[in-house]
């Protein structure tokens, strides 16, 4: 905390003096821009160039209509249902209390809480379990649950494209409430989250994300978009957190960029909560009373928010050098470029700001309660109607040449990210080379017998070979018994059998 508050250095104060090209003189008339009508934002992300985005359905998750419904009643284990489930299945969890960690390493599974007269299916970690929901499969849905008293996260994804996390109530649960990580094309909406030691909603290293209609409060960070691209955060109610909405590049992570983030039409109010983050965590540096914080993230558009009563500042924009306790990472670009601030309602912010901000204001001979504070480097940022706010560090920003983002409905893909398309013959070859050649060569003897020998036995019978590799038996005294290859699905087993029987060298 103590280090995190060191927001400025002498160098930056000097740099701030160099700004100030916009006003020209103190008394010239401000440029008033009407945001009713006018040009819409057209830059940023061109979805039509994304090979994974194709025209089709508008659903984030394209669940197979053929799936079964598995019902879990109180007293039973949700995990038993997950183990029994096949891709496409829906697991309905009846009201009641469940005490377990649910992990889903399968494709296309939906976990749906059943709400009866306000009674929810509740996952209670009782302060001893780590995470409530862990998932790694694609096309994952979790909705209508209540999650409480876990030590780690409420809902955590590690990879997994096309996810929907909706209508969950997550209270007093560990470090992150909802944490999809390393996924593409996902929605986090209509969740109520509070009492989280880090971010209530934390989107990490992901692409094409929609965070909307959530109520997040009494957490250190409300909503954090970190090292992610093409994200829209809209229509959320973000109140009484230490920091409201964050767009961060955190150094030291394997994916290095944040860009194309639209933060619009949110209520960002009263975010003055004491910072109760774990020492050393990235959000421990956030001064209480920070409405929206852009830390090194690029191409962030802030539009149409109601940003009131955040005591340090309504919007804080900083690089890695001036603010925070960033780890060293030569591959991480530290400056927030192309921040775009459109019309926002800002009121009563910065009324009890930190000394570093006051010092920065002095360098621009400004007084009052800062709405917008920009410190450190970064290029090509713009703002409209800046005369409405008390600002520091933005005098040299240019006018934006657009006034709204109406053209951008969503950054979600038009259809779910499809699985990688592998030709069936390739499938057999890859499995053969990736697995079989560890023990078999064409004509030589390694751990298993030569492929030639196997070909002689099964030449016209790939089905027989596919069957055998799923349930091998000991055949030869002079070779070790082969381990079963039943972790390959049936299609792959047959493909690899065919490939092996056709191998020529």
């Amino acid at each position: 905390m103590s280090k995190g508050k060191v927001i400025l250095s002498a160098v930056l104060i000097a740099a701030a003096f160099a700004g100030g090209t916009y006003y020209g003189g103190k008394n010239s008339a401000p440029v008033i821009t009407s945001s009713a009508g006018g040009a819409s934002f057209t830059g940023g992300y061109d979805k039509s160039k994304d090979i994974q985005a194709q025209a089709g359905t508008t659903e984030v998750v394209d669940l197979k209509a053929t799936g079964n419904v598995i019902v879990v009643n109180e007293g039973e284990l949700i995990m038993d249902a997950v183990k029994a489930a096949q891709p496409g299945d829906t697991i309905q969890i009846m009201p009641g209390t469940y005490h377990e960690t649910v992990y889903v390493d399968k494709e296309s599974i939906s976990l749906v809480g059943v709400i009866k007269e306000g009674e929810r299916a509740t996952l209670d970690g009782k302060g001893v379990l780590n995470d409530a929901i862990l998932y790694s499969g694609n096309n994952f849905v979790v909705e209508n649950l209540k999650i409480t008293q876990y030590k780690g996260n409420g809902i955590m994804g590690q990879a997994g494209n096309n996810f929907v996390i909706r209508n969950n109530v997550i209270v007093d649960t560990g470090i992150y409430g909802i944490f999809p990580q390393l996924g593409k094309n996902g929605v986090v909406e209509h969740n109520v989250i509070s009492g989280i030691e880090d971010a209530a909603i934390y989107v990490g290293m992901s692409d094409n994300i929609q965070v909307a209609y959530n109520d997040v409060f009494e957490s250190v960070a409300g909503i954090e978009i970190e090292n992610s691209r093409h994200a829209i955060v809209e229509n959320n109610y973000v109140h009484n957190n230490t920091g409201g909405i964050l767009a961060f590049i955190t150094p030291g992570l394997p994916i290095k960029t944040t860009y194309d983030v639209i933060i619009r039409n949110n209520f960002v109010v009263d975010n003055n909560h004491e910072n109760f983050a774990i020492p050393g965590s990235m959000v421990a540096m956030i001064p209480p009373g920070s409405g929206i914080v852009v830390w090194a993230g690029d191409d962030v558009i802030i539009e149409g928010n109601i940003i009131t009563n955040n005591k340090t500042a309504g919007i804080l924009i900083s690089d890695h050098i001036s603010f925070g306790n960033a780890t060293g990472d030569p591959d991480s670009e530290p400056y927030p470029d192309r921040t775009m601030i459109l019309d926002n309602l800002m009121m009563d912010n910065g009324y009890d700001t930190i000394d570093e901000v006051k010092a920065l204001m002095l360098t621009e001979f400004k007084q009052g309660k800062p709405d917008i504070v920009k410190v450190g480097g970064g290029i090509d940022s713009c703002i409209i109607n800046r005369h409405r706010y008390v600002t520091v560090g933005v005098d040299d920003w240019k006018e934006c040449d657009f006034t709204n983002t109406d053209n951008i409905d969503t950054y979600l893909l038009d259809s779910p990210v499809p699985p990688r398309d592998i030709d069936p013959s390739e499938r057999g070859k890859i499995a053969y080379l990736g697995i079989c050649t560890g023990c078999h060569t064409y004509s030589g003897t390694m751990i298993g017998p030569p492929v030639q020998t196997i070909q002689a036995l099964y030449m016209d019978n790939p089905e027989g070979l596919a069957e055998w590799i799923a349930n091998p038996t000991k055949k030869r005294d002079d070779f070790p018994e082969m381990p079963p290859q039943n972790y390959l699905d049936e299609e792959t087993r047959l493909a690899v059998a065919k490939y092996m029987l056709s191998a020529k060298n």
């Binding site: 780690g152 994916i255 005294d477």
Partner: protein
């Protein structure tokens, strides 16, 4: 095969001679010389190593089951079904095979006492079992030998991340006075003056006139890219066979990737590293000065005490752990993370400890389960063959290694067939290292 058998019997009789008390070094030198001249022609392999496909240009391209998946920004980090990061491949079979000979040949060191494999031993996870490796001077070097498994996927090398390519890395230990102690002139002289290497280099690099250091580095890089470990029982789980892991191992996996333990935040699947530099504040052994790590090559104070996040694949094979080998077991290494943020940072050191290092308060049972899970990351099925004879005539790896091998052979006699793990329920390949044991008896190109 017949010739092979007799060679094997030769080895046994030599072992008996050893017991008779002859000088180790002499025996090996004479044996190897004799065999080297017998096999005057070192034909390099024409076939790619297992798991590699030879393309139309004759280059070996890696194929793995992870090709079936995607990853965000193609960075190759994520969860179970995530594609791998960019990697090095595309070398010819001859280059890979030449690299294999060079890797195991003590000729590359100043005095013929050490090869690359002395510190990167195939049966020890391509590391050694030392806290810090012993170089040509007989003294310990400052850091431990990192594993070479899956280095094809890395773009930072050495503990402090100071090299960007395998080639750049390869010449580091060769010419470091504390490691292999050689110099370019002497190395080129011994390779060019060797009976076999000039023609072997010609096979691997037909375009070039004479041996240069660049080709040595390329061949060593080529060989190392063939050290692929992606068929552990964990991988079978990841590909969808959930019975591949035991109940305890799955418990361990869930603790490992939980946001309490947070192991998987840096040791990210599928490679179990994110290949970043992290400052975690492990202690140095008694009497050793604090190692500034990545601060030095990156000239960045904020990286003081930073080291590369190592892969955890085959981690059960590479004790002791951490950059200076201070932790003897996996249990001890896992326990480090629950003892408190910065608990081992020396007085007066100001380190920016990684934000994921905190106080997770893991129970003893949870630590045990993590260790269980880490054992499921073992896969050595693609361990390459150690050459039985080297162009230099020196014993493969080094004299000490050859002696220990010889001792084992004499003591245990002809080895029986390796038997499959008795844990049938797991249904998984516990074929670790069997290829190595089994193929020792096979000479020449087993892929021919």
């Amino acid at each position: 095969m017949i010739a092979v058998k007799s060679k094997f019997q030769n080895l046994i009789s030599l072992g008996i001679a050893l017991i008779a008390g002859l000088s180790l070094a002499l025996v090996f030198a004479s044996m190897s010389k004799a065999q080297a001249s017998d096999a005057a022609n070192f034909e390099l392999k024409q076939h790619c190593p297992p798991s590699f496909e030879k393309n139309a240009k004759g280059h070996c391209m890696l194929r793995t089951m992870y090709e079936f998946y995607n990853s965000v920004q193609n960075r190759g980090v994520g969860g179970t079904q995530t594609s791998l990061p960019d990697h090095r491949d595309g070398f010819t079979p001859a280059q890979i095979d030449l690299g294999r000979y060079l890797f195991f040949d003590p000729l590359l060191s100043k005095d013929g006492s050490l090869s690359c494999a002395s510190c990167h031993q195939p049966d020890k996870g391509f590391s050694d079992d030392m806290d810090r490796s012993v170089g040509v001077t007989g003294e310990k070097v400052p850091r431990s030998a990192p594993t070479l498994w899956n280095v094809a996927f890395l773009d930072r090398f050495f503990w402090d991340g100071r090299a960007d390519t395998l080639e750049e890395q390869a010449v580091g230990p060769l010419f470091d006075p504390k490691e292999m102690g050689n110099n370019p002139q002497q190395l080129l002289a011994s390779l060019r003056g060797n009976d076999s290497y000039p023609s072997m280099f010609k096979q691997a690099f037909p375009e070039t006139e004479q041996i240069e250091i660049e080709q040595v580095a390329t061949a060593l890089a080529a060989f190392q890219t063939s050290l692929i470990s992606l068929n552990s029982r964990y991988d079978q789980y990841a590909h969808g066979f959930h019975d591949a892991l035991s109940e305890n191992e799955i418990k361990g996996m869930n603790i490992f990737r939980s946001f309490v333990a947070r192991c998987a935040e840096c040791h990210q699947p599928p490679l179990f590293t994110n290949n970043q530099i992290a400052v975690i504040g492990t202690p140095e052994p008694e009497g050793m000065p604090f190692d500034p790590g990545a601060e030095v090559p990156f000239n960045d104070k904020r990286m003081r005490g930073g080291f590369k996040v190592p892969t955890l694949r085959n981690i059960a094979k590479t004790a002791p752990y951490m950059h200076s080998g201070g932790m003897k077991s996996l249990r001890e290494a896992a326990g480090f993370y629950t003892k408190g943020r910065g608990h081992a940072v020396p007085e007066g050191e100001e380190l920016i400890i990684h934000w994921h290092i905190w106080e997770p308060n893991l129970t003893d049972e949870e630590l045990d389960r993590i260790v269980d899970f880490l054992h499921a990351l073992t896969d050595e099925s693609l361990t390459p063959q150690i050459p039985s004879v080297l162009p230099s005539g020196l014993p493969a790896v080094d004299a000490k290694y050859a002696a220990s091998l010889q001792n084992n052979k004499v003591l245990s006699g002809d080895k029986p067939m390796p038997s499959v793990s008795n844990n049938k329920k797991l249904g998984a390949s516990s074929i670790n290292n069997q290829q190595q044991e089994h193929t020792e008896e096979v000479s020449g190109d087993i892929y021919e």
